[in-house]
């Protein structure tokens, strides 16, 4: 009985964890380091890091996305 209860607790915890992680898939960025070199996270979008320390108005894509598909 105790092992069954333990198994159920572990299964329930796994289910809650997977739902919590799977539900959090909003597009966009949260930290600057998600955007790659030369880009910053502004208003949840990766934009080109301006030279004056502010942020550019137009959203851009990180290096790895630019490199794929456009030659």
């Amino acid at each position: 009985m105790r092992s069954q209860a333990r198994t159920r607790i572990v299964a329930a915890a796994g289910l809650v964890l997977s739902i919590a992680l799977g539900a959090c898939t909003d597009p966009g960025c949260i930290r600057h380091s998600e955007c790659g070199h030369g880009y910053v996270c502004t208003r949840a979008m990766c934009v080109v890091e301006p030279s004056d320390g502010g942020s550019s108005a137009e959203p851009e894509f990180p290096d790895d996305e630019l490199d794929s598909g456009f030659e």
Binding site: A20, L21, G22, C24, T25, G28, I30, R31, S33, E34
Partner: protein
């Protein structure tokens, strides 16, 4: 807030039941793997994402006068995105509960590469002993990062994480 109450409550109870924890150990070494939920956003835009998977190595040592208090730190390495690296200063309470050991604590994670961010963290862990010195660890924590050049201007990055690991008492 609930975590804070648990930390305070366990501090009081750990004093009362301080005899229940071993006082002859010198080091508590553990390693773990985890992830969680990252929440933030700028300009009123709330964004939630899965936090990057991370591994960490933690070394704790009991306070010489108060063996129910563990002090030490962790090195945490994220395995995704910018592969950030952080040092974490920790203070953890120990409270025996039957075979388990409850471990509420506070920490200050400091991400220093490739960018910086720092903030307070509250956490709660459970240690399940397997044998004399070996144990399985599970934990959860919540941290708020307000300072650093990895935090977008005008926002706070909130990280809620879960972790599983193994530990060794020396």
């Amino acid at each position: 807030m609930a975590l804070f109450a648990v930390v305070l409550g366990s501090a009081v109870s750990s004093r009362a039941y301080g005899q229940g924890v071993a006082s002859d150990q010198l080091l508590d070494i553990s390693t773990g793997f985890g992830s969680g939920v990252l929440r933030g956003g700028n300009g009123g835009l709330g964004v939630a994402q899965r936090a990057p998977f991370f591994v960490d190595v933690t070394v704790l040592t009991p306070h010489p006068a108060e063996p129910w208090l563990l002090l030490g730190g962790s090195l945490r390495v994220e395995l995704e995105d910018g592969r950030a690296v952080a040092g974490v200063a920790r203070a953890t309470l120990r409270h025996k509960l039957s075979k388990l050991e409850l471990r509420p604590g506070v920490a200050i994670p400091f991400y220093f590469a490739p960018r910086t961010m720092i903030g307070p963290e509250a956490n709660f862990g459970i240690r399940y002993p397997v044998g004399n010195d070996f144990g399985l660890l599970a934990g959860a924590g919540i941290a708020a990062f307000m300072i650093g050049n990895d935090v977008p201007h005008g926002t706070t990055v909130v990280m809620f994480h879960f972790q599983l690991g193994i530990g060794l008492l020396l």
